[in-house]
Amino acid sequence: MGFSKDQLLNRLQELEIDYTKYEHPPVLTVEAQAKYVSSSEGALSKNLFFKDKKHRYYIVSAMVDTKVDMKVLSQRLGLGKGGVRMAPEEALAQLLQVSLGCVTPFAVVNESARDVSLLLDQNFKNQKRCIFHPLSNEVSVSLNTSGLDKFLKSIERDPVYVDLEANPAVGKDQPPDLAVYVPSNSVVIPEITSETSTKQTPPPKSVSAEVKPVASAKPSKPASKGKSVVVENSTLLAFKNPEKFVEEIMDKTSALLLSEVAKGENVEALAETRRKLLTSELTHLAIMFKNTAYTEGFHAGKHSQPKRL
């Protein structure tokens, strides 16, 4: 289990970090939070949890007024213009171990979040105090950035402050300025069953119009077999997972059919060549599937224990 709010607050006290605590009913949005914690106590934050195509995760914590353009951020991280997506709910639970509406810089205290990159709005530094959830959306704490920094350093994290509104050019001679903050490790999250995800019924924290919600409320796939299936790169999965394998075949075949229908004329001649190509591609896919299955069996054989008599 992850760090609890109380454990976190105790830790802050141990580190002699000055903070003020506000308790309130659970809040999922900044607007709701603002009702209970006035801005005189500190600057409210909006917190985004997203991932890139290589399953690396990021928390961006910003002032509510700071405009965060995900496309720009994606480029500055060196991931291309559309390289990031909001992280799925499962990731929130598995990596940050917090509930919906509760993304916070403090979440990196969990061991499970060790590969999550944390980017903080440099505008926080101008504030007397800033407000974050201490791992629970029923509590808010306000503290100075120096306190946040002290905490981060205590868990061996270098606090990273970034001008989130900057939009520097990224090109051949101007490397992406935030690329250094891309985690070196990607994270695989075991697929969970549908029961776990339906627990999160309330709508996600809504923030200013430009920014997407924290976690998209998409339904998570049910576990396909009894054991947990690792969510990998979808092509690689096609070599391991029968459902993905068939999906890949269906995708390729229907693409072929569609392109044939589109071409119209001389369909038969076209069909022959394309059918051959498709056959060769699918056979290749099937061989890799077979090899993967054999390898798993080989591994099992090597590690199997003799029958107990």
Partner: protein, 402 residues
């Protein structure tokens, strides 16, 4: 088993040189394959054999056969005769793991061997000559073993069936029945003969001298008692590049004396370097070849900048005279990798008569190669160390002929 320039060797530039360690054409021109076939004493692979392959396998012959990439053989017709009667054979090919960077030229024998395995439904042994590279390239034992494993991953990514394929590295496997055959072969080849076939001299270390039997004995089924127990008469077919012929000339010479069948060979020509037809690609010059790790951008750049064009200097001249298909590299590459015969014919006609421009041909080639390299990369990503272990495990292959 790779060929690279050997510095100490004096090559006579008035004669072409083709051996396992050097390939160079006469006076920097093109390799004369007819002369080579004559000199080596192997056979041309003619249409009738290709038709026979089509009949026996009930599928279209591989593009490399149709385009004459695999163009020479020894006893391939006998293999087909036996196959027709129901007598199977096994395949044997290999790689000298001298570098981590594999280019398309390296993949060619493996792509062809995979086709043979599928078409004829026969097993395959793949030898990784890490000992040879350790000796010739002066690599450490560990480094050559590491490269062998890395190369194995690219080989597996070509799509070999693990239930019919045994990959082994010399450092791991030499010993037992394999070594016994090595000694038997060694006894049949005098020092003088070895020096004559391979060009060894008194300056070469004895490791090199004793290597040829290592590459010879996988041709004999008794070298693999876990695979072919009791099948001493099983024939062997070796797909390889023609520069490997000397090893197997020696093997075929020795085989009858040991009471073994002679291995059959099916040989390919060299894949030309991007810059043109003098010899073959070199792993040490990154711009002479397309590597399996090249990105789509790299491929596009290399083809556009370095692929030697047979097109004319100006568009007007080109439209008038057409392209010189003999020296044009993009068309040559397409003849290796473009599956569709009629499309290739069309390109050759239009380009050769000046109606199609070099840019268009290069664009099509870039498409074809990018798709190939992409596919290879995807498969390569799925090859784990465990999978390599599985392919290299000394285990029986019960369904090898299915």
């Amino acid at each position: 088993m790779e060929v690279d320039k050997k510095d100490e060797r004096e090559s006579d530039s008035s004669e072409q040189v083709v051996n396992p360690w050097e390939v160079s054409a006469k006076d920097g021109g093109k390799i004369d394959y007819d002369k080579l076939i004559d000199k080596f004493g192997c056979q041309r692979l003619d249409e009738s054999l290709i038709d026979r392959v089509q009949r026996l396998t009930s599928r279209q012959p591989h593009v490399f056969l149709r385009r004459g990439v695999f163009f020479a053989h020894r006893d391939f017709n006998e293999i087909l005769d036996a196959y027709e009667k129901g007598d199977k054979f096994y395949l044997y090919t290999g790689r000298g793991p001298s570098s981590e960077a594999l280019h398309l030229g390296h993949l060619i024998p493996f792509m062809f061997t995979k086709y043979l395995q599928e078409a004829f439904k026969v097993p395959l042994v793949i030898q990784l000559t890490d000992d040879e590279k350790c000796m010739w390239k002066n690599l450490s034992v560990e480094e050559s073993q590491r490269l062998a494993r890395e190369n194995a991953k690219d080989i597996i990514a070509c799509g070999f069936d693990v239930t019919k394929t045994f990959i082994f590295s010399d450092f791991d496997y030499v010993g037992g029945a394999f070594y016994k055959n090595m000694v038997k072969v060694s006894k049949c080849v005098t020092l003088n003969k070895a020096m004559g076939i391979f060009g060894f001299s008194g300056e070469d270390h004895i490791g090199k001298l004793s290597f040829p039997p290592v590459q010879a004995v996988p041709s004999f089924p008794s070298s693999f008692p876990h695979l072919f127990p009791g099948k001493d008469n099983l024939r062997c077919l070796i797909p390889c590049a023609i520069d490997q012929d000397p090893y197997f000339r020696m093997t075929r010479d020795v085989a009858p004396r040991l009471g073994y069948s002679k291995p059959a060979l099916i040989e390919s020509s060299f894949f030309p370097a991007l810059q043109g037809e003098n010899g073959k690609m070199s792993a040490s010059d990154p711009n002479s070849a397309i590597y399996v790790t090249d990105t789509a951008k790299d491929i596009k750049n290399k083809i556009n900048r370095y692929a030697f064009s047979g097109g004319q200097d100006s568009v007007e001249k080109h439209r008038e005279l057409g392209a010189n298909l003999e020296v044009d590299i993009p068309v040559k590459y397409l003849s290796f990798f473009l599956e569709d015969d009629s499309e290739l014919e069309h390109i050759k006609k239009e380009y050769g008569e000046g109606r199609m421009l070099t840019g268009e041909v290069k664009k099509r080639l870039t498409e074809v190669l990018t798709e190939m390299v992409e596919r290879h990369r995807r498969s390569r990503a799925a090859v784990t160390d465990e999978m390599v272990d599985a392919f290299m495990a000394v285990r029986p292959l019960p369904s090898m002929f299915e």
